[in-house]
């Protein structure tokens, strides 16, 4: 709970220059450039790059000291775990083999049970018990010896009618229904082939079943895009908060007293937060690779994330500079992100689909064009942020 206290005590005991650097004491006066020179970055001050570097470092340090970045990563982990949990749960619910569950016994009664029995024998995990007596079959169902009763008959159209009686609720029923569906679909397929002379088209033979991981589709079309896009959105949110906070606390004013121009400050913040996303994306890809999920072109994916991150952070910067206060800035930013995600379905490929294709190695020419487009958009957003800075009057912020 109070893990940070002594650390904080020590920081306060340390040099006062050091202290003003830390956001812990970031009160009314954090003179960043002064701190930078005190930190021995004096030589860097000669170029214009130096002060920006100092602002960027300060930005990252404040993220570190507030543990926000740890929280951000924890949130992403949590979301990834949450969605995986959902999918694993759903898939295992629909795929009894995945659970390694035991066989389900069902009772069969009525006319012409042979086709059904044959299909059930082919289906792993489903055992049939034939009864000639209806009462006996329903009796075993009532006392729980069988999970369901299937009563078969033929109607006047020679359709096979299967009357299923299943227990009302519970995970068992879910598994049972899934098993039954597969079995009955196999029966249906055979019956259709037998009816071929009455049908205009013949159903295609269904390929044999294979042992395939049911998670591949989810991993590449949802999990990987999610893990790659989240860091970019988080970076955008950070830059909105960071700029608005400087404005509202009045510290942007102080920064302008230094030799830095507003453009320098904004540039530095933009760069510092935009660079976080591709770094996190690379870490996620490495982690996925350790877990056995390899992607075809990690380099391209990181490039896409970098471009999107620049785009989102640029957008965040513009919003933070234009919006009147934090509430509206955050609202505008999140609505814009949601809007962009929806509107991007108009593209020939949704960005998530682009990521999925690149990571599965089935990229097309359209995919490459879109990757190039994202890079352009990223650069455009950076320029837009630049233009906004030049257009607004710093004194009015």
């Amino acid at each position: 709970m109070s893990r940070d206290e002594p650390t904080r005590e020590r920081r306060i005991d340390g040099g006062s220059d050091e202290q003003t650097q830390e956001s812990v004491q970031r009160g009314p006066n954090p003179p960043a450039p002064a701190g930078a020179s005190a930190n021995g970055d004096g030589d860097a001050r000669e170029s214009r790059f130096g002060p920006r570097w100092a602002v960027a470092c300060r930005e990252l340090r404040s993220l570190r000291s507030e543990k926000t970045i740890i929280l951000a990563i924890a949130i992403q982990l949590f979301i990834a775990a949450f969605s995986s949990f959902l999918v694993v749960g759903f898939v295992s619910m629909y795929d009894p083999d995945g659970l390694g569950g035991q066989d389900i016994d069902v009772a069969i009664v009525g006319e012409d049970p042979a086709t059904l029995e044959a299909a059930a024998d082919d289906q792993a995990g489903l055992n049939t018990v034939r009864y000639d007596d209806r009462a006996a079959a329903y009796g075993t169902f009532e006392n729980g010896q069988v999970a369901a009763v299937l009563e078969t008959s033929r109607n006047e159209h020679d359709q096979l009618v299967v009357d299923v009686t299943a227990p009302e609720e519970g995970i068992e029923t879910t598994l049972l229904v899934v098993q039954l569906r597969e079995t009955l679909e196999a029966v249906e397929h055979d019956e259709r082939l037998a009816n071929a002379d009455r049908l205009a088209s013949t159903p295609l033979t269904i390929p044999d079943e294979v042992e395939a991981s049911p998670y591949v589709g989810f991993t590449y079309t949802i999990l990987v895009p999610l893990l790659l896009f989240l860091p970019a959105f988080i970076s955008g949110s950070i830059v909105v908060d960071s700029l608005i906070e400087e404005r509202e606390r009045g510290t942007l004013e102080l920064l302008r007293v230094t030799p830095l121009s507003l453009a320098d400050v904004v540039d530095a913040k933009l760069a510092a937060t935009a660079v976080l996303a591709p770094m996190q994306a690379a870490a996620w890809l490495a982690l996925l690779a350790v877990n056995g999920t390899t992607v075809a072109r990690p380099g391209v994916l990181i490039l896409v994330v970098a471009a999107l991150s620049l785009l989102v952070v640029g957008l965040g910067t513009v919003v933070a500079l234009v919006a009147p206060d934090r509430r509206q800035a955050q609202l505008l930013y999140s609505v814009a992100i949601v809007g962009a995600l929806v509107v991007s379905t108009l593209l020939p490929e949704h960005p998530a689909n682009t990521v999925a294709k690149v990571s599965l190695g089935s990229a097309t020419a359209t995919t490459w064009l879109l990757v190039a487009l994202y890079c352009l958009l990223g650069a455009g957003a950076f320029l837009a942020a630049r233009a906004t800075v030049e257009r607004i009057d710093p004194a009015e912020l």
Binding site: Y138, G144, E156, E168, E169, E172, E185, E188, V216, A352
Partner: protein, 660 residues
């Protein structure tokens, strides 16, 4: 840094109108009673005034440009969303490549499905003897093979695509009875063998039991409160009905595909679905679940604005003006919260009306809204900057959404789902009846947790915490320390923390529901013990570290005893767990301790008393361990906490091994 107790909040627990000398001086006569009523009225009017000011400021400062942009985005999203609703957002479009010639019958399958892109066979390149290539699936004549790492998955997806293609082919056939040669009618029946709460339906259904695993599942279900006698008789009727229509199993003339009503629509004891095998869907409350999720979505947006307005007060000491007003901190917070709560309730009512829910949906969602607001309030009080606030609110969103959503998935599966109020919404939408007991079990912990979180946040609604930059953990300790004055408050706080413990443990059970049992047990044993130990000792630590108590061994022993005993008593109150039959779950026993099943295993009164008293001793001992550690600062507190957790977990494991 720790801050002296502020006069306005230090009496917060006891008085309703804190820090007002007139109230303390008053004698117990009628006149004071009247003045109390007047005070209450004043307090209400102040709350309303703050609320009005909050509303006018919120609506007044919204920029026209903001509204314009928001509207523009909303319209764009509406149009595009409406257009894209038909064919989805295409996440899976063309992710696999199939090598197939155009004259092949399977070529149409690949083009009919979104997931595949076709290349002609002459363009197919396969390297390393099938290990990699530019395709995932290759089809030559009737032979289908797969290539590369993702080939198996692509092949599996292609198999599904063939089935879907066949279905589409059959749907176009004129001769429907030939195209759909199999008709399925599924009837769900309530089998209530082995239920304790229900009388046996039929004599044959009485003491028979099925196979081992099935048995525990079903009996757990049978004890769930939602399955009352009313449904029981319904199932009885089903059985009769079923045996009555022996001669005519289904209406064969009916076209099979037209009667595919949703299984989750009715939610009655007897749901009948007729159709071809492809129409069979497991009885999963998918639609209700999605609709229930609608209730949670707006909360995530509202708390953003709420967090901002609380944090705003803390920037540039703006809130100081409010603090010096005659309104107490609790009135200010109530006033600032009221508009947001009212807004959320309004949204909830609107959604309920739109999706056809009942009063229960609203009653179950209000505590969730309160919990969101409470957590955001505390987060906004503790956060140092907007950046930190963003992450705190996102954390709150994610954790609380998980807490309410995951258990609701298991609505029809296990009674454990009741830990989330959203489960009640799902049940309401499915038309199931909910008992009062179920409602209380779902919502009381949430209400209490929200109240405690609000109280903790209020503790820091004072000058030295609002305008200072302190790390979040320090503020949490501060917030707790505000509530610690004198030995008497220690047991009170132990009791206050019990809802937290309850909620945390339930969440752990729900999250680990699907994990392998052994792993689940180990994690839950230690997690549950750790949560309880923290709840028993964190305020003792706060008291010592903020110099509320003398850091002596004697004081530690006294405080530990008080805290442990109080926690034990309060935890007995959570025996309502048995109400919903949670003790059927081994993981619940792991979390809530072996006492949960004391009633079942005890042979005589002596053993029963022993089983009840042993945990008292345990709680006291472990609380003393961590209290002693807390006298010597942070590191030794953490070490002592670890030790206490280990003792606690080993005790629980030991007892369970002993009695089972």
């Amino acid at each position: 840094m720790s801050g002296e107790p502020d006069p306005s909040s230090s009496h917060g627990e006891v008085d309703s109108s804190d820090g007002r000398p007139s109230r303390r001086a008053g004698d117990e006569t009628e006149s004071t009673q009247r003045s109390r009523a007047a005070e209450l009225r004043d307090s209400c009017s102040r709350i309303v005034r703050v609320a009005r000011w909050e509303i006018s400021r919120t609506t007044g400062t919204v920029d026209r440009k903001t509204v314009f942009v928001l509207l523009a985005v909303a319209i764009a999203v509406g149009i595009v969303g409406f257009a894209a609703a038909d064919d989805g957002i295409g996440l899976e479009d063309e992710i696999y490549v199939v090598g197939v010639d155009e004259e092949n019958p399977y070529h149409d399958v690949a083009t009919a499905s979104d997931q595949f892109r076709t290349v002609p066979l002459e363009a197919v390149r396969i390297d390393d003897g099938g290990a990699s290539g530019n395709v995932d699936v290759v089809i030559e004549d009737r032979r289908i093979g797969y290539v590369g790492e993702n080939g198996v998955a692509a092949y599996d997806a292609f198999r599904d695509a063939v089935e879907a293609y066949n279905e589409a082919l059959m749907a176009g056939e004129d001769d429907e009875t030939a195209a759909y040669p199999v008709l399925v009618e599924i009837e769900y029946q309530d089998r209530s063998f082995d239920g304790d709460l229900e009388p046996p339906v039929e004599s044959e259904a009485d003491e028979s039991d099925g196979s081992g695993v099935e048995d525990s599942e079903d009996s757990a279900e049978g004890e769930a409160p939602e399955e009352t006698d009313g449904e029981d008789s319904a199932s009885d009727e089903d059985t009769v009905d079923l045996e009555g229509d022996e001669d005519e199993p289904t209406d064969g003339d009916e076209p099979p595909l037209e009667s595919d009503e949703d299984t989750d629509a009715g939610g009655d004891a007897n749901v009948t679905v007729t159709g071809s095998p492809g129409d069979l869907e497991p009885p999963f409350p998918f639609q209700s679940l999605i609709l229930a999720f609608l209730f949670v979505v707006p909360m995530n947006f509202v708390i953003q604005a709420y967090g901002s307005t609380i944090m705003d007060e803390r920037i540039k000491r703006r809130g100081e003006l409010l603090l010096v007003s005659p309104a107490s901190s609790r009135e200010i917070v109530a006033g600032k919260t009221l508009p947001y709560l009212a807004g959320l309730v309004g949204i909830v009512v609107a959604i309920t009306l739109a999706i056809g829910g009942g009063f229960l949906s609203v009653a179950a969602t209000v505590p969730i809204a309160l919990l969101f607001l409470a957590a955001t309030f505390a987060g906004a009080m503790f956060a140092r900057s907007f950046k930190e606030l963003t992450f705190v609110t996102v954390t709150i969103s994610v954790v609380l959404t998980t807490y309410v959503f995951i258990p609701a998935i298991f609505t029809d599966v296990t009674p454990i789902a009741l830990i989330s109020p959203l489960t009640l919404v799902v049940m309401d939408l499915q038309g199931e009846s909910v008992t009062l007991g179920a409602y209380l079990v779902s919502t009381i912990p949430v209400y209490l947790t929200a109240a405690v979180v609000f109280l903790l946040g209020l503790g820091t609604y004072r000058e030295e915490d609002m305008f200072a930059q302190k790390p979040v953990p320090t503020k949490v300790i501060d917030a707790i320390a505000v509530r610690v004055h004198g030995k008497r408050s220690v047991p009170v706080l132990s009791i206050v923390f019990v809802p937290f413990v309850f909620v945390a443990q339930l969440l752990a059970i729900a999250l680990l529901f699907a994990a392998p049992p052994l792993l689940t047990f180990t994690i839950i044993f230690f997690f549950a013990a750790a949560v309880e130990e923290v709840a028993k000792s964190v305020h003792v630590y706060a008291g010592f570290s903020r110099a509320r108590f003398e850091p002596t061994l004697a004081a530690a022993i006294v405080l530990g005893t008080l805290s442990g005993a109080a926690f034990f008593l309060a935890e007995k109150g959570t025996q309502i767990v048995q109400l919903v039959g949670l003790h059927e779950f081994e993981s619940a026993i792991a979390a809530f301790g072996p006492e949960t099943m004391a009633g079942e295993v005890a042979d005589g009164p002596v053993v029963f008393a022993g089983l009840l008293l042993a945990p008292l001793i345990l709680h006291v001992v472990t609380a003393i361990i961590s209290a002693v550690g807390a006298t010597r600062g942070r590191t030794s507190y953490v070490v002592a906490l670890g030790l206490a957790t280990a003792v606690h977990a080993l005790y629980n494991i030991g007892v369970i091994l002993l009695v089972t």
